[in-house]
């Protein structure tokens, strides 16, 4: 059973209960932000909450680690917002 989530305003189908990183990768969205200093594209590295490369905004909450977040139907995700916790 799939959930529908919104990523940067675009509707994406994701397995319900999947980790958000997995759903994003399955949808071909590896790049989750541009590095604030170098501008280079960045994607998830560790998948377990320690590297903070996968920070996105979920339902208005910034600095949310996608690798610790399960997909729910109707979830709204904004990429390109990482680094706000530092």
């Amino acid at each position: 059973m799939n959930a529908r989530i919104e990523v940067d305003g675009e509707t994406v189908s994701a397995p319900r209960g999947a980790m958000l990183t997995a759903a994003l990768i399955a949808a071909g969205r590896w790049v989750l932000r541009a590095h604030p200093v170098t501008g280079t594209p960045r994607g998830p590295l560790c998948g377990m909450g320690v590297c903070l490369e996968c920070e996105v905004t979920v339902d208005g909450r910034p600095a949310t680690r996608a690798c610790l977040t399960r997909v729910t139907d109707g979830m709204r995700v904004w990429t390109g917002t990482g680094g706000s916790a530092s």
């Binding site: 594209p41 560790c46 610790l68 399960r70």
Partner: protein
């Protein structure tokens, strides 16, 4: 720092980390009648080893580690208060109050005993191209495969060191991934007679290993030894890894062969997550073999004469079996101090047996400290070693020359951090401190470098805890 707690809360035992060690301790202590709170930042308990698969994966193929589900159920049945989605980001001045951030914002939890079971994370040493999307840890590939049934890539190369590379390659094969090859930095699979004899004293583990090797051979997956990643290169669009170049371990800057990939998974064993232990003021000592800081504990896991205990890989790398035994040993020690029965008296023997196996296994692979030193020495000056702050190897080398302090066995690392900002970004140096230390000539990462918040917390939430407006919040975010 403590101010007026937002939601004062107390329990007998707070367990930080709901993996094999923390869950085992929590089950025993809650069953014995103590009030136990388990804190974990993941959406479900289980830690990395018992990470819960998604509902969709369980429907299709079941739970690949059903023992984890049973253990979690037993912890809940024993009455432990389980708080998931909850990060521990700091410690109050009393040394027994944890600062939490969870679904309802910030909170505090004061406990008579603290069990730190925060587990481990993978060691990654930088190489040119390591920041490209599509370069991940080996563990992330495993979580994607086992937890979500998602392929990290279609053509995947695994590189690093340690036994973990083999089962993950098999998980990828299960999903139909083309595993281009496995590059192991050491030569552990040229077993000497003595190595085989020692391995044979752990027959179950030897059989498991043999199954992986047979599976990889059947799929003709090359297992290259004495090979490390020399560099990774991007696709024409520049936003994904497209090729990997390998080199011999002794000469990491001299390419041997290149392979087309769409994912590269790297990991050189595991390192303890020690931030909470550091924030609690636990004594740590540099381990010359791994280069990591290990908390100093007595045989029961107790830090000094404190009420803080360490269990599982937060105390030292040893696998899930030893972690579970650690959990029982810590629980028995706390129950003894409370004068309560119910501790498992046989756990210490299991703990020693697992530790023996882990020690033997570790010696098959290169010493991480030496490998780190060798790989970082060969790093080109323009490679970012600190991903968060975009600090290059050259900048760290230059700062190390300025901050030379030969009497400390290398440069003054605090000064190097201040000069370059290496290790001062959101990840708190978890991904780069070992590399920075090696570039500065240190044998092991220095102690005393943890700071709050150990996990990302919105500044407004911290202000809420301190009871002060955002504008006057002290500089706590680094």
């Amino acid at each position: 720092m403590t101010g007026a707690p937002v939601s004062p809360d107390a329990c007998d035992v707070a367990v930080v980390g709901g993996g094999p060690a923390g869950l085992t301790a929590a089950r025993r202590l809650a069953a014995a009648g103590l009030s136990v709170t388990v804190l974990d930042e993941q959406p479900e308990l289980g830690g990395q080893y018992y990470r819960r698969p998604s509902a969709a994966v369980i429907e299709r193929g079941g739970d690949h580690r059903p023992a984890g589900g049973r253990l979690i159920g037993a912890v809940r049945d024993a009455g432990a208060d389980c708080r998931t989605d909850t990060s521990v980001w700091g410690v109050a001045d009393d040394g027994r109050t944890l600062l939490l951030s969870g679904p309802a914002g910030v909170a505090t939890l004061t406990a008579r005993y603290l069990i730190i079971a925060t587990g481990a994370y993978e060691r990654v040493i930088p190489f040119p191209g390591w920041e490209l999307p599509g370069v991940t840890t080996v563990g992330f590939a495993q979580h994607l495969a086992a937890g979500d049934g998602i392929r990290v890539g279609e053509r995947v190369l695994l590189a690093g060191s340690g036994p973990f590379l083999l089962p993950v390659a098999c998980s990828l094969l299960d999903l139909g991934v083309h595993v281009v090859g496995i590059a192991e930095a050491g030569t552990p699979y040229r077993l000497s007679g003595r190595g085989l004899l020692t391995a044979a004293s752990f027959p179950a583990r030897l059989a498991e290993f043999a199954r992986y090797v047979a599976r990889l051979a059947r799929h003709r997956v090359p297992l290259w030894q004495d090979r490390v990643v020399a560099r990774a290169d991007a696709s024409p669009a520049g936003d994904h890894v497209a090729s990997v170049t390998l080199a011999a371990t002794g000469t990491p800057a001299t390419p041997v062969a290149s392979y087309a990939v769409d994912a590269l998974c790297v990991g050189i064993g595991f390192r303890p997550q020690s931030e909470i232990a550091r924030l609690l003021g636990c004594s740590l000592s540099g381990d010359p073999w791994s280069g990591d800081l290990l908390p100093v504990t007595d045989p029961t896991g107790r830090a000094g004469q404190s009420d803080v205990y360490l269990a599982g890989e937060a105390r030292g790398i040893g696998g899930a079996g030893r972690a579970a035994a650690d959990g029982e040993v810590v629980a028995a020690a706390i129950l003894d101090r409370e004068g309560r029965p119910g501790g498992d008296r046989r756990a210490a023997a299991r703990q020693r047996r697992h530790a023996r196996f882990a020690g033997h296994n570790a010696r098959l692979y290169p010493a991480a400290a030496e490998l780190t030193r060798r790989l970082t020495a060969a790093l080109p000056d323009d490679v970012h070693v600190c991903r968060c702050e975009a600090v290059t190897a050259g900048q760290v080398r230059a700062a190390a020359a300025v901050a030379a302090a030969p009497q400390h066995g290398g440069a003054d690392l605090g000064a190097v951090r201040a000069l370059t900002r290496a290790g001062m970004g959101p990840c708190q140096g978890r991904e780069c401190q070992a590399t920075v230390a090696a570039l500065c000539g240190a044998v092991a990462e220095p102690a005393g470098m943890a700071r709050m918040p150990a996990r990302p917390v919105p500044v407004a939430d911290i202000a809420q805890l301190a009871g002060t407006p955002v504008a006057s919040t002290p500089e706590v975010t680094g």
